[in-house]
């Protein structure tokens, strides 16, 4: 596989843990530079140490739920600081189980702010043709299998991810003429240090996954492929990555 490497610059959100961290590490390992956005300075520092090439990790501490309207300007500032981007992987998100009985508009707005509006406003900044390298630029949004399921208590979360996937299709049309690609990945249950500790998840849901639970590496591998020129004819797609669940 052609690696999206060698002096390429990517923006990764949610980079301090889980899928975002795994993608940042993989990109860095392939020689790319990564602007790693997260909220936790210590954990971003650990990422830089862990990758073995700290000079290629550029940690940026930012709460993406704050000042969403200003995120395009934020990306402009990052471009002036680090250079033009080859792409972005949007991983930052929140998940809450909220049955109808305790559904609150305020919770819904927060979920949509973080899972939908912030990624799109970041994309607006990065897809400004002055801020990316043009042809070959690739964006990947981490959605969720919940956008395709009907699990109880996931109405806001599922809605936010389904909205993200729908917008990916629309945006992909807008930027295709520039040779820029936009795709989504909908992972199923991924084993992370956090979820691995949840005994209930392992016991109650393992039968749903013929190939077992996914790993961060599974998602990172597909994300990196979609960023690479090997995927140059792929845009506007959403990949369900779920070990045979659906």
């Amino acid at each position: 596989m052609t690696a999206p490497a060698g002096e390429r610059l990517y923006l990764v959100t949610g980079a301090s843990s889980g899928i975002g961290k795994g993608i940042a590490l993989r990109l860095c390992g392939l020689g790319a530079r990564v602007v790693a956005i997260g909220r936790d300075a210590d954990r971003l520092g650990e990422l830089a140490q862990e990758c073995g090439c700290p000079e290629r990790i550029h940690p940026e501490i930012r709460d993406l739920a704050a000042d969403i309207e200003l995120l395009p300007q934020y990306v402009k500032g990052l471009k002036e600081k680090y250079g033009k981007f080859h792409g972005m992987v949007s991983c930052a998100g929140i998940s809450e189980i909220r049955p109808l009985q305790i559904l609150k508009y305020e919770n819904g707005k927060r979920i949509f702010d973080i899972n939908y509006f912030a990624p799109l406003m970041l994309a607006k900044g990065l897809l400004d043709r002055r801020h990316n390298v043009g042809r070959g630029t690739s964006l990947v949004f981490i959605a969720s299998i919940e956008a395709h399921l009907a699990d109880k208590g996931m109405s806001f979360y599922a809605g936010s991810k389904a909205a993200l996937i729908a917008s990916v299709r629309s945006i992909s049309r807008e930027v295709a003429a520039s040779g820029v690609r936009v795709n989504a990945i909908s992972p199923g249950d991924i084993l992370t240090p956090m979820t691995a500790a949840v005994e209930g998840m392992r016991n109650d849901r393992s039968h749903l996954y013929p190939l077992g639970f996914g790993t961060v590496d599974d998602v990172a591998a597909l994300a990196v492929f979609l960023l690479s020129d090997e995927a140059k004819w792929i845009t506007g797609q959403n990949y369900i990555l779920d070990g045979g669940h659906l």
């Binding site: 400004d128 002055r130 003429a177």
Partner: protein, 74 residues
């Protein structure tokens, strides 16, 4: 809105690398494609409350023409 403010905003709408002038001819811009026209129509509506259509671009040839459409005094 001053001329300078308009030029800055319209440059962002078009994502133009170079600053615009009032005498800039829209067709001369690399960025002037169908999406830019769509963005300009939306810009006139959202920022100035002005309804425009693609047909208006038969008479709007320069940045100054767009500014006039927006109601910015020349």
């Amino acid at each position: 809105m001053t001329h300078e403010e308009f030029l800055e905003k319209f440059q962002d709408v078009l994502q133009a690398e170079d600053p615009l002038g009032m005498d800039t001819v829209l067709e001369d811009l690399d960025e002037w494609d169908s999406l830019a026209r769509m963005a300009t129509v939306a810009f006139l509506d959202s920022d100035f409350g002005v309804q425009a259509t693609f047909e208006d671009f038969t008479t709007m040839k320069t940045v100054a023409d767009v500014a006039r459409k927006a109601g910015i005094a020349s």
